[in-house]
Subunit: 345 residues, 2 copies
Amino acid sequence: MVTIREVAERAGVSIKTVSRVVNNTAEVSPATRQRVQQVIAELGYQPSSLARSLVRGKSDTVGVVIPLSAHFIFSRLFFTEVLRGIAEVLSDHRLDLLIYLAQDETPYIQLYRQRRVDGLILMSVPVDDPNLAGLLEGEAPCVFTCRITEHENPSWWVDADFATGVEQAVDHLVSLGHTRIGLLAGPPNLVSVHLRVKGYCRALAKHGIPVPEDLILYDDFSSEVGRTLARKLMEHPRPPTALICGDDMMALGAIQGVREMGRRVPEDVSVVGFDDVILAAYATPPLTTIRQDGYEKGRIAADLLIELMSEASHGVPRHVVLDTRLVVRHSTGPAPRDSNLDVGR
Amino acid sequence: MVTIREVAERAGVSIKTVSRVVNNTAEVSPATRQRVQQVIAELGYQPSSLARSLVRGKSDTVGVVIPLSAHFIFSRLFFTEVLRGIAEVLSDHRLDLLIYLAQDETPYIQLYRQRRVDGLILMSVPVDDPNLAGLLEGEAPCVFTCRITEHENPSWWVDADFATGVEQAVDHLVSLGHTRIGLLAGPPNLVSVHLRVKGYCRALAKHGIPVPEDLILYDDFSSEVGRTLARKLMEHPRPPTALICGDDMMALGAIQGVREMGRRVPEDVSVVGFDDVILAAYATPPLTTIRQDGYEKGRIAADLLIELMSEASHGVPRHVVLDTRLVVRHSTGPAPRDSNLDVGR
DNA sequence: CTGAAAGCGCTAACAT
DNA sequence: ATGTTAGCGCTTTCAG
């Protein structure tokens, strides 16, 4: 590896002068500058980012922590979109992006303690994450791409308005005549899942429909789980005529499960997804879903972190709530005529 | 930030002893060890990875270079699968993963020159990438997840057997009675695209079908392009009855384009994709496609790199060719009866 | 405009 | 078993 010292020797100057040329700092006589630059080119010298970071006390790297199993995350297309947003903004700011898969209970905060990164972006942190305590005490600059509690807290975050999103879905279904609406909410240790349930209850109440506790199911986001839960609900004595799912993969699985039980989508059962990942539009039938903009979420998360890192005083916590939007496609339709005849039984 | 010096002072030992405890090297008396460990815990000390890397001369980080626009890459689901494979293996080896978006002509090799990473994994490098020269001279340990030339060269790589993959597709279509088969190959600056064309020609020859040069189209992998090219081919005086596409997104777009021109899939036109990303199975109709295992590709790439980095002598170049497999779903069917009646006109 | 020296936080010889 | 001394490659005072 070519070092600054070799360049200095070869150019007949001190290392400091080379440093000045490289960093374009202070004035160096044009002649010297040119000579140094020439040697740099000849030798293919590149300053060691390690040494530089060490002395400057920052790594110019941001860690994106994915605190779930890799398989799980990468199969959630939505995260890919968030990642794209993050990657673009970071790249624009010449910040490097370190992906960190935090399996199990990895104390990923060490990434910062070790100064491997200057800040952290946390994707999908569950409420019971053991790192949360330290993070909330402001140990490291970090922003979350999800809320981590429903109460006020000093964290910086971007998140979608899940409650309103689900409410939009319920409104849509009710307008189609549905009154038995199931909810495959997602894993219970995510705030966003609570919010989905909250929106669901709020919307039903608004329409004067009692909340059917037995139609609210919790489990991981995955098509397999969606399939299983949908089958289960279809076996209910009074099965729902519509299903709202925590994410699109779950919805796709649910469609499959519904069909396996001999029902059609959307003629017999309507299905709504969440996220509007690329898959949704291409599905069979194209999926009605609640859109949240992952790319934008990622961009904002990165912007927030950059702002946070630049403040010496970690300022007042900021958070951004992103709107959701119902995208109506073909997995939802009018409630079947006779679906509510058995109400009185 | 807590440094080794503070720990040493507080524990009343030298920094070297602390170092020994942290690295579990040499023998330290149990009493001392325990005292030091206690202080470390109290102070929440974590060794600076920066300083450590600097002195050890390696960063324990691998760079994954994505030398195309972020949007393009992230919309190619296949890369997400490769990334998952890479991430898992790296994580198992306690190697960090740096994502680098190399827009335009970024000299990404500097990541290594600056010792920011110990090695590079390169995704989808076009033949005209200006960094290739340096890379092939062995400037940095690197492995490619694609071939970069069709000839022998000293690079390490994993890649799928594209030629055979497309050949499998042609065989399938011919067995269904198709003789006019179009190819939406992909961007012309990718070796894998040349190989697709090669397999296509080889297979047609095998079946005694002349190669229809005007049915081979080159352009980026994207559903939009797939749509446009498919429409174009449908306007051909003797349109193909089957389309083989360079990847699944392109195939999905092609299905759309075919439909827009008033033809049905697969009754009038059969469409085959490539990759078998998760989307393929959920599409309408479910897509017949040539499967390549991205996850495996990623894992192997990472394994190869780890092997390469551990060899002082950069050994003999290794490469791995992955099998492809035709997955028949519902986007392909028998050639329409009268499709070849106009052969003699 | 340029250089000498100190030191970022750590590890690795080489003592003791 | 433990400490001292040099650096790793760079930037930063502070002089010249």
